[in-house]
């Protein structure tokens, strides 16, 4: 066997000074040579732990092998057989806790850069006409309604269309893609990539109806009445959570969803060319420690804020953000205030925020989530001057669909209850998956849920 190569090929990136002034993608992607060099590191081990590590079961050794044999159409075919959105996943999946974590080379400290190779293959396809993967089974005559066009809905739709079913996606916003369009910023996930993958789903025969708020424009029961044989709910976790402390409704205090939606979906960073405005001051505090907080903070940097703080109530170890994004954020000059919790926001007589009273925290015993519980330290309160605040505490499922759908049961947290193996809800002929079931999670877990439900829906339709 050839000698092990433990030099992971690094990802070329825009320099921090340059990128903090533009919205272009930060990670530039491998060149052909870099991709080949990285692909050649794969030892094609027998155990193939990476395939188990992938929530949608991509045959990783197979596509890497095709790549290094310079058979790109085959690499694309192999990848897309399991994953309809590889350009997205290659960019935003937490590979370090999935396929790459279990890679045989990880034991030697240098796992294969699977995400980067996935992105390389997806981008190759985008730049080359390639019709290798539009195979669709003969029409079955069954009709399926998919609600929501995020990763869960798109994946379920693609899988069902490939099996010959007629699929319509209903989406409340004016574009398809869910969080991929309204949440994750352009510099991390270009919208052109998302739309190319949405177009691929359309090319399988899926119809996408925008401006359709299920629960309002149409209800789930009405979808069933007009003849949809099955309904899949993938409406995500779009409801922003707030701190519920004084001053939270002052001007200049945003939810992360509002902040990111204005910027990404409505392109407020191009105001006034685009009509939607955003106001970012000189000193911004983003509250929270997840990917969403990092995205909001990095947007604030690009919108010209002089100083951007991440305010997080636990320590760095507990931060849920991807390591790579935290590093990127720090390179761009973010200031991280750990073990700090806001108590209230201070406003001027015009109703604008000018400060934030915080308290220092100590870590106590582990809580239900296994993370050490932060406890306020008496008498340690202090004031930070801020003129913009972004509250990024997470989201919960939007109750619009559940509250308008009789028989669809939810948990106390508002998530839809399903059967784990199939994605079936408590309502007949209705399946669900993605963030609406799990609460805010990941792109790939939502896709896995879409896949699982599609298989169950297909089995149900065949048995009819």
């Amino acid at each position: 066997m050839a000698k092990l190569d433990l030099n992971r090929v690094p990802m070329p990136k825009q320099e921090p000074e340059a990128r903090s002034e533009n919205y272009d993608e930060v990670a530039l992607g491998y060149s052909d040579e870099e991709a080949l060099a990285e692909a050649n590191r794969c030892i094609q081990c027998k155990k193939r732990p990476c395939v188990q590590g992938c929530p949608v079961g991509v045959d990783i050794p197979e596509f890497i092998d095709a790549l290094r044999n310079n058979d790109m159409p085959e690499a694309v075919r192999s990848l897309k057989a399991k994953n309809a959105l590889p350009g997205v996943c290659g960019r935003v999946c937490p590979q370090e806790t999935q396929c790459e974590e279990v890679c045989t080379l990880a034991k030697k400290g240098a796992p294969m850069a699977i995400g980067r190779l996935e992105r390389y293959v997806a981008d190759w396809e985008l730049n080359h006409q390639n019709d290798s993967n539009r195979e669709v089974a003969p029409a079955t005559g069954s009709r399926i309604a998919v609600v929501g066009s995020g990763p869960a809905g798109l994946t379920a739709a693609a899988d069902l269309a490939k099996r010959g079913h007629q699929v319509t996606i209903f989406e409340s916003l004016h574009v398809a893609g869910g969080v991929l369009m309204y949440g994750i910023p352009e510099f991390r996930l270009p919208k052109r990539i998302v739309q190319a993958e949405v177009d691929y789903v359309r090319s399988l025969g899926v119809e996408i109806k925008l401006d359709s708020v299920i629960g309002k424009t149409l209800t789930v029961d009405e979808l069933q009445e007009v003849g949809y044989d099955a309904v899949f709910l993938g409406t995500g976790a779009g409801l922003p959570m707030f701190l519920n402390i004084p001053g939270e409704n002052l001007n200049g205090v945003y939810s992360a969803n509002e902040f990111l939606t204005r910027i990404n979906l409505m392109k407020a960073y191009l105001f006034p060319e685009y009509d939607t405005p955003i106001k970012v001051g000189k000193k911004v505090a983003v509250i929270g420690g997840g990917n969403v907080a990092m995205d909001a903070a990095r947007c604030a940097v690009r919108l010209g804020a002089g100083e951007v703080h991440i305010v997080y109530r636990r320590s760095r170890n507990e931060m849920p953000a991807r390591l790579e994004e935290l590093e990127n954020a720090e390179e761009e000059g973010l200031i991280i205030n750990l073990l700090t919790n806001p108590l209230r926001f201070l406003g001027n007589d015009q109703g604008w925020v000018y400060g934030m009273e915080c308290i220092e925290m100590d870590l106590g015993e582990p809580d239900d989530s296994g993370r050490r519980q932060p406890m306020p330290r008496e008498g340690s309160d202090f004031i930070i001057d801020v003129d913009t605040v972004v509250v990024s505490l997470g989201t919960s499922p939007n109750p619009l669909v559940p509250s308008a759908t009789e028989g669809l049961n939810t948990t106390k947290r508002g998530t839809v209850i399903i059967d784990e193996g199939t994605g079936k809800t408590t309502k007949a002929k209705v399946w669900a998956g993605g963030d609406i079931v799990t609460g805010a999670a990941t792109v790939i877990s939502a896709m896995g849920a879409g896949k699982r439900a599609a298989a169950s829906i297909d089995a149900y339709l065949q048995g009819k």
Binding site: H174, S212, V213, P240, N249, E258, R262, F271, T276
Partner: protein, 278 residues
């Protein structure tokens, strides 16, 4: 795309659009709203539903020219299309037989109150309407509102038509009068709703207002439309738009509505320059 079936200039600054939107037309109820977007670069703005025609599958909205979007919308002609038209959003007005209902409308909100007055009348209520305008030239739909009202009072700030003064004066007289008032529905500019609520408070009469904060998605996703009602945070687009006027934190709402005044001005000026140049 959603086609404009008919356009009417109700007054020089207030316009009516009848839009082909079958799904919305099927469901629309009094008190609900839509979110529209004009074109690729447009913003999403909420507009209250003024009427609907289930046979023609159209929805009617009435709006006043304020910023860039509403001015651009005023330039749209019958036969043109707009990019997005989503709805019906929000909860419909609670329509029930309560006895005597006073419908108070200020300015272009007259268009919102008409379907509510109609539904109230159909539900068997005695309907008294008060409509207020700055001046006679801005007045419209007197005949429509009269059709659903047992009594109609008109005020103008400058006295050019009807009674001189603001709507709260006749409202107070009604409350002090001999007939029992069971419910007040006040819709219009935020200050007008605030003062209508202040007027009814001492009389303990149930007062419904329809709030118009800034919105983006209109589905509960962004939280920009949050208002404080009875000490609790509510999202206007899903929990409203109608709330108990006695419990709304009006000053907070008014401050929040001013968030983007500078940007709105800049956007409008740029557009006007472009129009002049082109």
């Amino acid at each position: 795309m959603y086609q404009i079936v008919a356009k009417e200039d109700v007054t020089p600054q207030i316009h009516l659009l009848e839009i082909h939107a079958p799904d919305v037309a099927k469901k629309a109820q009094a008190g609900q709203f839509v979110v529209i977007r004009l074109d690729e670069k447009g913003e999403r703005i909420p507009l209250t539903i003024a009427d609907w025609n289930r046979q023609k599958r159209t929805v009617t909205v009435v709006f006043m020219e304020v910023g860039k979007t509403t001015r651009k919308l005023a330039n749209v002609k019958a036969g043109d299309s707009i990019a997005n038209f989503v709805g019906p959003l929000g909860r419909p007005t609670r329509i029930e037989k309560s006895g005597t209902v006073v419908c108070v409308a200020g300015g272009f909100a007259i268009a919102t109150i008409v379907p509510i007055a109609r539904a109230m009348k159909q539900a068997g209520n005695r309907v008294i309407s008060i409509m207020g305008f700055r001046t006679k030239a801005l007045m419209f739909w007197e005949d429509r509102l009269r059709r659903f009202s047992d009594q109609l009072i008109i005020t103008t700030d400058d006295g050019s038509y009807g009674r001189e003064g603001v709507v709260t004066v006749p409202l107070k007289e009604l409350l002090e009068g001999t007939q029992k008032i069971d419910r007040v529905i006040a819709i219009g500019p935020t200050v007008m709703m605030k003062f209508s609520s202040i007027t009814t408070l001492p009389f303990g009469v149930d007062t419904v207002v329809s709030l118009n904060p800034i919105m983006v998605d209109g589905t509960g996703m962004c939280g920009v439309c949050r208002v404080t009602v009875d000490g609790a945070v509510k999202f206007t687009c899903v929990d409203g738009p109608e709330f108990d006027g006695h419990k709304v934190d009006w000053d907070e709402l008014m401050a929040r509505q001013r968030t983007y005044l500078d940007e709105e001005k800049r956007s409008l000026e740029m557009w006007q320059q472009e129009q002049a140049g082109g």
